[in-house]
Symmetry: C2
Subunit: 197 residues, 2 copies
Amino acid sequence: MSKVVCDLGVSVDGYVAGPDQSRENPLGEGGDRLHRWMFETPDENKAEIDEIVAAGAFVMGRNMFGPIRGEWDLDWRGWWGEEPPYHGPVFVLTHHPREPLPMKGGTTFTFVTDGIESALERAREAAGEGNVAIAGGASTVNQYLAAGLIDELRLHIAPVLLGAGERLFAGAPDLNLEQVSARSASLVTHIRYRIHA
Amino acid sequence: MSKVVCDLGVSVDGYVAGPDQSRENPLGEGGDRLHRWMFETPDENKAEIDEIVAAGAFVMGRNMFGPIRGEWDLDWRGWWGEEPPYHGPVFVLTHHPREPLPMKGGTTFTFVTDGIESALERAREAAGEGNVAIAGGASTVNQYLAAGLIDELRLHIAPVLLGAGERLFAGAPDLNLEQVSARSASLVTHIRYRIHA
């Protein structure tokens, strides 16, 4: 059955992004170190990467799509260049309407202004039999956790201390987590939790 | 060769103790949930528990030994009853001198007033060929991390969110961590890191 999943790269000290995030440095200082395992050791982590990419649809927060506050800068087409790595429908939470934005490689960004449940419903429809991935950032994940809408949480813990930045689970509710599995590779430990009501 | 190791139980959201620590509730609200794996599933986690207990000597901070501020209350003999689980020499960092306190089962608490390096040196001598364990709490661990004196860090991540409390690595320096292994059991994921200079 289709699930709502959430993959998060996190430092040993619990940050999903470093300090001083900016348009030039969207992951903050040192934040790129969280994702070295994907780029430097993809063969070691093929199962986890394949699973991330396999989601049928994605939901992300406004800041994950772009750094613009207020009205849209229509020249902004996301952080990922003309061919984003999603290759599927991506629903972006925002207060500011915008026409859907089709990109190369099958990614289409659709902007949803009526809340997290509506975005999830649209993503579920678009995903069909596939999973829906809550792609981030942390505040979007926390909203979905608080609403009890995530079935499975997959942490990818990098052997890195960031010391400051965006905290995982800041303000999240207590959760009934069942630990399903853990696996380590040279640059990451993957842990999978099922979330029970 | 003898190593300096540190085992820490931690929540998924990065706390080593819950909020509102007190004499009645030294681990803070919900903090006992971090250690369920040791008490409820010891067979599943025998290798890790044996390794913790096998240290030749221990170092701990003043607050881990007792809640008393200022001069010693000489009636205070630690949190653990008359037979503490250490079964070996334990060096307690403090500013207040006190005579050594021998307990049942081989534990002796020795109070060290001249700093973390002195405590470690005495623990190394006492441990002989065995490892020295920095037993906590978090601020003591952070002092040893900052001084570059810990060789191996072993996190025991419980599937629990505490939401507040004592943060792991608050104020710790950046560390050059090598991930050595990870293993999951039903109530915990164990991750081992080697710390390089």
